[in-house]
Amino acid sequence: MRPITFAIILIGLVSLVLILTSTNVFSLLPEQHKFINIDNPSNDIDCVACHSRIQAELDSSVWHGNFSCEDCHRFEGTGISFAEGGSPATSGEEAHAAYTPRCLDCHDSDGATVAGEYAKPARAFCDDNYGCEYSAHRALVMKANESSMSVGENEACLVCHTNYSCELDYTYFEGISYNLSGWSFTSFGDSGTRDYTANWNKSGAKHVFLSLDKIDCTKCHENIYDALVTGTPKVNEDYLTHSPIEIHTSGTGDTDWNTNNPWPFGGPNYHDRYHYIPKADRATGVNSSYCYECHNVNKYANENLADKTTYDLGDVTSDTYSTQVHCAEALWCQTCHGNGKTKVVIDNPEQLNTGHSGTNFVDDVTSDYARTFQGDICMGCHEAAVHPSDAQAICTRCHELGNADVYIESEPCGYATNI
């Protein structure tokens, strides 16, 4: 007998025996009648059985990794009634097994204790109307609350505080031009529109919460980073905008204009340069901590006590709203350098009494022009690259007469002319 014939006969006989002798039918979906005991109070269903990936994310998370699913998703502080066992059982009202929590459910103005840990209030964003208008990311939080993508404001929380990636598509002005005569504007205009996309690509995991030092301002604000680090190349000094990160480098000694010295060290108008970074250090020096030097003076001062003393940051803090913002303050140059401020404009000691110190120039810029232009109005003169170091410089044009004819491009380009 051929093996194949034997196999067919054998299968046929076995099938016949099964059909004739078996009294059971076979269930299509076995175990659908094997119900899990839910007699106990709280939740008896194993969330991780269906959500193991989220558990794996939490296992590698700096925050919340020690929480159970129930700690967040059946949080009792909201008044939500969940289904649970016990005698009698609770049927659930707003939610059955779980809800999607708002981050602010725990991080509200009172904070909350979860699994023995205190969840701190999310400063400013936990306040009415998400705090003051100087919180730089307030618009993002407000839009997130409108958005249906996630509950509450979570979109905003996720993009900064977790490994959830984000793409930011910015649109803003391309450049401005203005004329000054005797420190007064004789013309001003903007030109063009710039589109800029910043990508902060992470693993995408919403349940991997980042330590605060991993929240990198320069990823979402890559245009600012590029403006401060790369800009537009030029011989000697590059065109770098947003803040005066370097200045004229004709001198080499500590009493001259290199990028490392105070201004001038030990002199009568002693003024350390707060936000200058030597060229060699720019790529790494422009980081979140650098951003905080201006955009959260209070935080920077508390984390850099030596600088706090050197730069009078306690007083500078009082010039800002940095104690009232979440992470960053929307500010302008006048915030620290206006009249009456701790870091009011002083003259270049090499050009004493010839700058715009003692005038209302900085305050006038603030009151007369949109905030978005103000940094570049200042940078039109304070970019190192537009401050000529050679014989073509006519110092008196700016330093005595207060005349300027500026065209400057926005971040990340920073290209500028001042003739």
Binding site: N24, V25, H33, F82, A83, G92, E94, A95, V159
Partner: protein, 233 residues
């Protein structure tokens, strides 16, 4: 090896036995032993065919002491084959049993507003649910907005879309929302295909004129979806 003569001999003997027998051989023995259907309830032993399900039920958890008919012959909307006062009722929507929604019992409604009926149950099965009398009422599956409790809004329920989709799916595998109920409340195996966003796309426009400006976040949309599968064992 049996030769031809021996084979003929065997066939002859078997034929003689067959001729001499007073009974024929029944291929399916017991097929003429009919169940008495005159009593209340089903009277047909479901477990004869569904022993595996019986084993699952008694393995632990809930529903361990409830007969098959307490779930599968309790819909007022069906009309099962039954016997009432010696009068046979042929059945309408179903003969012996129907596949019922979990929510038939767990809907939080009290009779008579529920579709649940005791009519087709065996009178001896009362104590399975009503012990002590008259207490047991199946716990309502609240939190999905499916019960009459006005507080049951389900607006915060993380799995609500799962339940609703189970209810409306055209290719419905099970009755009502049962796919969702079964997936969580039993040990059934499940493959769950997720498609999740890993990135937010945020559109930010600077709105300005010469003297005034603000940043407007105009859109936040999920993007960069990735699929993955969870296997519930």
């Amino acid at each position: 090896m049996i030769n031809l003569k021996q084979m003929f001999l065997i066939i002859a003997v078997l034929s003689a036995i067959a001729v001499a027998m007073t009974h024929t051989v029944t291929l399916f023995s017991g097929q003429h032993s009919w169940y008495d259907l005159s009593g209340s309830g089903s009277n047909v032993p479901c477990l004869k065919c569904h022993e595996d399900i019986g084993d699952e039920l008694i393995a632990g958890g809930v529903h361990t002491s409830i007969d098959c008919e307490c779930c599968h012959r309790t819909s007022k909307m069906v009309g099962y084959a039954a016997s009432e006062a010696g009068q046979a009722e042929p059945g309408q929507g179903a003969h012996s049993a129907s596949t019922e929604e979990c929510m038939l019992c767990h809907n939080g409604r009290r009779m008579p507003e529920t579709n649940f009926t005791h009519y087709y149950l065996n009178s001896s099965s009362c104590l399975q649910c009503h012990n002590p009398v008259p207490a047991i009422l199946a716990a309502a599956a609240g939190g999905f907005g499916l019960t009459p409790d006005l507080c049951d809004t389900g607006t915060k329920a993380a799995h609500r879309s799962f339940v609703l989709e189970a209810m409306i799916a055209d290719d419905s595998l099970m009755a009502g929302a049962n796919e969702a109920c079964i997936a969580c409340h039993t040990t059934i195996k499940a493959n769950i295909s997720f498609n999740v966003s890993t990135k937010a796309k945020i559109t930010v426009n600077n709105v300005y004129n010469d003297s005034y400006s603000y940043w407007a976040v105009t859109e936040i949309t999920p993007t960069n979806y990735i699929p993955y599968t969870e296997v519930k064992e």
